[in-house]
Amino acid sequence: MDVPATCECLSLVHEATRRAALAEDFDPAVADEIAVAVSEAMTNVVEHAYRGEPGHAVRLRFRPGPEALRIELEHRGAAPKSLPAGVDLGRLARERRRGGLGVHLMRRLMDHVVHEELAAGVCCWVLERNRPRSRPPSPGSES
């Protein structure tokens, strides 16, 4: 599905993602988390990959698999040279920084987050959230 790469579409992307996750039997609370993570990836594409320029698109795909729900956001913008490994909130606050949390939040909410270069000029955020496992009975764990 092609979506205009603008922040004005964030609420609709959020809602479509939330409903896709619910349809895949994720709990409502988890569906919300997945939707927030996908909104972060969309924001990243709009603000960093396309630098806020108008007229670009993001191709959004929901790919349910047996183990996980995979969501891809394909774009033709800039690839990040490097991504922050973690964040130091206290430092960011002392430096009056208002950003720098997006990638960190995606990683905290999802089980797998990568930015791939599929081909020259074609990039993709790939986010996966594992399906809940019915925990196998661990022998001797009864108290």
Partner: protein
């Protein structure tokens, strides 16, 4: 109902900011604008009441992060109350409970500033 509406109330010398809806990179300007104005006016004892927020993306937390030390430098603080569900979860997940004091209710948050 727009995506976000931000109301501001006063409780003694504390400004209570109550965003309603959701905060993402599109709607954050509205939220940030209200916080900015308060801090710039020296109105730095701020409580954000999250009771009517359905979700907050990193941009919303970024707005708090970017202003909290300014508010503290002016003798105030930004404190947060009544977070629920996904908003409370993401607040913790980002580690904001170490940056920013939170309270169960708006009243507790207002009282935490002490009278004046």
């Amino acid at each position: 109902m727009p995506d976000l509406q931000v109301a501001t109330r006063r409780a003694a010398d504390v400004a209570v900011v109550e965003p309603k809806g959701f905060i993402n990179a599109h709607t954050v300007a509205e939220f940030e604008g209200v916080l900015n104005e308060l801090v710039e006016a020296g109105d730095v004892r701020i409580v954000i009441s999250g009771a009517h927020l359905s979700y907050v993306a990193s941009a919303g937390f970024g707005a708090i992060m970017g202003l909290i030390e300014e508010a503290r430098a002016g003798g105030g603080d930004i404190r947060v109350a009544a977070l629920t569900g996904t908003v409370a979860h993401i607040f913790r997940v980002l580690g904001f409970d170490r940056l920013c004091r939170t309270f169960e209710t708006e009243e507790e948050a207002v009282l935490s500033f002490g009278g004046s």
